[in-house]
Symmetry: C2
Subunit: 221 residues, 2 copies
């Protein structure tokens, strides 16, 4: 991995764990065991790090949110897709922690973040609409609009809330978010009891290991 | 209203609107048109303001969360109670914005905030359990535990999320939070279609004006 990539990855990890505001460029250099001068050679300050991370985040979200054929997915594939959405936001979760404060400090992230959120909402709306057309989801148009807001709230804020409440590790947080989604979606799904149980079992067993063919959102390849 | 109360109310309003970290003691004094010296006479810095506000918040939450007889409430009364919970957290919402950052800055608020959240969760758990015993709510014990987490997430974080997404006024934010709760709870309620419609109509018409007998959470009487 090249130095610039290592720097970005380390910055991202530290920002996610401690919040962007408590991490300095020097902290990042120390963590990487490089000189602040070397870091500065690659990125001229936190501003340029934050912007480079937003660019990565945008590109990866675009891949996930441009996925088509959502309207032929099976319920368990949909649950997996929801998990991917949680995962891909979670990897860049510091952008959604103290959202207003971050926007004030880095005005340049406001527009791409807004764009990501509105694409996320559109994709969720499309997913629910197609499920509803296929008579799998029982929800009026107004209900579906609220469900989109709720999913989006869970995806972007539940990890922050988990930090407030308890100390879950990062994987547990993602499954917790997915469980919160499913507890509100499941009663609206017109599935057999057997199918619902199957989904619940998948959820309980945390049965969503990335298979080798799915690239990690942090793949720099 | 006494000066100390005016100061608290103004600090609360500014903290809620702009976040605690961007508001200084001098801002509060200017807003009130008093001298910083006068403010200092009443509160020795932001630390003491934040602690006094937390004391108010605790007392008011205790009143609402110690309410008994939840197990005889009608569905519309339950919805109203959920609204009261949203409202009472919303009045002190800056405590739940950037929760980790605030905790680092004011370690003394961690314990009372934790206590409020665990009381809130207990009360919600009790509410759902009693509804389930009365066969009004269809939810397993595991489902109910997730529903408690979800309600708590909505109550504490949805206003923050709304700020990220759009510019709703404060009343709209509260009804939006209640709508998010109801969209996940309603499909689990064993009510007639007529009863469900009635709840939805109440929700749509924002029909929860405080009646004169309910004291405002900001009542200093």
């Amino acid at each position: 991995m090249k130095t610039a990539q290592k720097i970005l990855l380390t910055a991202l990890t530290l920002f996610n764990e401690h919040g962007e505001n408590t991490v300095t460029s020097v902290d990042i250099a120390i963590e990487l065991d490089i000189s602040p001068g070397n870091l500065y050679y690659h990125f001229k300050g936190k501003d340029s790090l934050v912007n480079a991370l937003m660019k990565m985040h945008e590109q990866q979200m675009q891949k996930i949110l441009s996925r088509e054929k959502l309207d032929t997915l099976h319920p368990e594939e949909i649950m997996y897709y929801l998990y991917l959405l949680i995962d891909s936001i979670h990897v860049f979760r510091f952008f959604y922690r103290s959202p207003a404060d971050l926007a004030e400090k880095y005005p340049s992230i406001v527009r791409p973040r807004q764009h990501i959120l509105s694409s996320l909402n559109k994709q969720l709306a499309y997913l629910f609409e197609s499920l509803s057309k296929r008579d799998i989801l029982i929800a009026s148009k107004a209900d579906r609009a609220l469900m989109v807001d709720l999913m989006s709230l869970i995806i972007t804020q539940s990890c922050q809330f988990d930090e407030l409440n308890s100390h879950m590790d990062s994987t547990t947080q993602r499954y917790h978010a997915l469980s919160l989604m499913m507890v509100s979606v499941l009663p609206r799904l017109a599935l057999s009891d057997e199918q619902k149980q199957q989904l619940e079992q998948m959820l309980d067993s945390h049965d969503f290991m990335r298979d080798a063919s799915t690239p990690s959102p942090l793949d720099f390849a």
